[in-house]
Amino acid sequence: MGLLTLSSPHTHGPNSTSKVMANVVLATLPGLAVMTWFFGWGSLINVLFASLVALASEAAVLLIRKRPVSFFLKDNSALVTGVLLGLALPPFAPFWVTLVATAFAVVFSKQMYGGIGNNPFNPAMVGYALVLVSFPVQMTTAWALSTQMSGSSILGFGDTLQVIFAGHSTLADAYSGATPLDAYKHLIGKNTADTVLAEATFNGWLNGGWEWVNMAFLAGGLYLLARRIITWQIPLAMLLSLSLCSLIFGWDEDMYTPLSLHLLSGATMLGAFFIATDPVSASTTPTGKLIYGAGTGILLYVIRTWGSYPDAVAFSVLLMNFAAPFIDAYTQPRSYGHQKARRGLPEKN
């Protein structure tokens, strides 16, 4: 009679991958809004542009790989990659930096590994790391100064477009500068904390608007937590270990970047809630997530403090991506009815 026979379960929850991804994008919106408020149109333009590039390159690769394009575009994962990159890149980064980063992220770090779910590394961060090492100048100088620090209003929308797409970078000169993390790191040691803050870049503001950006991302992260799209382990472990490192090694504000700057400046919250939690490349066991988060936090502190890069979310996440499968193998949870967890790799006979 040919009835439909499928394996159970025959019913399904309302969740879907595209909804998950859409929620992630949604949760970034407050952060994006605050960034636009303090740093101008650059980030918004970047986000839109990067999303377009991400979708286009995904579609192109899918076409070449003879996969159903709309089916995979629907999952919104390329969109997430684009949005995260747009948020992470400097607001005044020239368009080709964004283009290279995004296309590389989608094509090489995601589709080359077999598409969604198969990439061992966080695609957005691979793209980011590529442009960071390839175009260090653009990546360190194209940051916008917050309205708080510069004390002026933001650069107009048209001018921002010109800066990004037409290369009229001089237009943005008055509005751009090093990030607080960068500036503090380079000025401290030679100066005391007070004198550093008196410098022009800080204009008396420690975080200069970045704290609001981070708060907004934190809010978005809490939304994701509430929707059970991410779990608490990675963000919490990451922020805790970062704080702990900062308290142990960097208690002296006159020598090291203070804790508040670590937590509330740069891409800390974006990294903790949106990037390190990327499920595909992160650890998946509960304990593993704790270790993974803690590792990311420690690496973040180490590179920020002793490395040559002012911010290091990309590198620390990528480094931990390497370790994730190993961490997973040794942190399997104890299952129901077992005294102990079975860990490690199965023994060969």
Binding site: S7, R65, K66, R67, P68, G114, N349
Partner: protein
């Protein structure tokens, strides 16, 4: 000059000492962790299907296992088929080769011998042929196959003077049936899906 000489001497000396040390360590380990016997033969034998059919050209699986350990090809066992070759290749760290057709083809479905009992004349020939003593019976008595023990090696079919032994396919029943892995969805469209055997290792 002499300082440079000294540096070189020291470097060489240190290396030499290290080499001796590691050599001693390895030597010790080789003695201390020596594995008795020739377990590789047993390991190989464990991978062979133990059908004992002799299609490989050896009188049973164990002799073939010994031959493999001695350097024979790993693709001579039709009952084991590709999966056994793959397992052997994994074990021995060699390239898997396709089954040598000279020794026969892999059966699609496992079979067991079945004696049409009314025709059996009780000649005991099949009993003598069966490598695993899976046939029960005495002279001039009707014989029967213990289906659970029969490896499906076909060896009893030929000697039967009245041709009363059939090899019947072993079909699945509700206790041995199981779901196959899903094939719908992305897999159907995937062009780059890995073959189930092959480069999986």
């Amino acid at each position: 000059m002499s300082a440079a000489l000294w540096t070189i001497v020291i470097a060489v000396g240190v290396l030499a000492v290290l080499a001796i040390l590691f050599g001693a360590l390895l030597g010790f380990a080789a003695v201390r962790f020596k594995v008795e016997g020739n377990p590789v033969v047993d390991q190989i034998n464990n991978l062979l299907p133990q059908t004992q059919c002799g299609q490989c050209g050896y009188p049973g699986c164990k002799p073939y296992a010994e031959a493999i350990a001695g350097g024979d090809k790993i693709n001579k066992c039709p009952p084991g088929g590709e999966s056994t070759i793959q397992a052997l290749a994994d074990l021995l760290g060699v390239e898997p080769e396709p089954l040598d057709a000279e020794h026969g083809a892999e059966k699609d479905v496992p079979t067991v011998a079945f004696i049409r009992e009314e025709e059996c004349i009780g000649c005991t020939k099949c009993i003598q042929a069966c490598p695993v003593d899976a046939i029960l019976g005495a002279a001039k008595q009707m014989h029967t196959v213990i289906a659970d023990e029969c490896t499906g090696c076909d060896l009893c079919v030929e000697p039967c003077p009245v041709d009363c032994i059939d090899m019947i396919p072993l079909s699945k029943d509700t206790t041995t049936w199981y779901w196959q892995a899903p094939t719908s969805g992305v897999e159907l469209i995937a062009t780059d899906r890995r073959p189930l055997t092959g480069d999986a290792a």
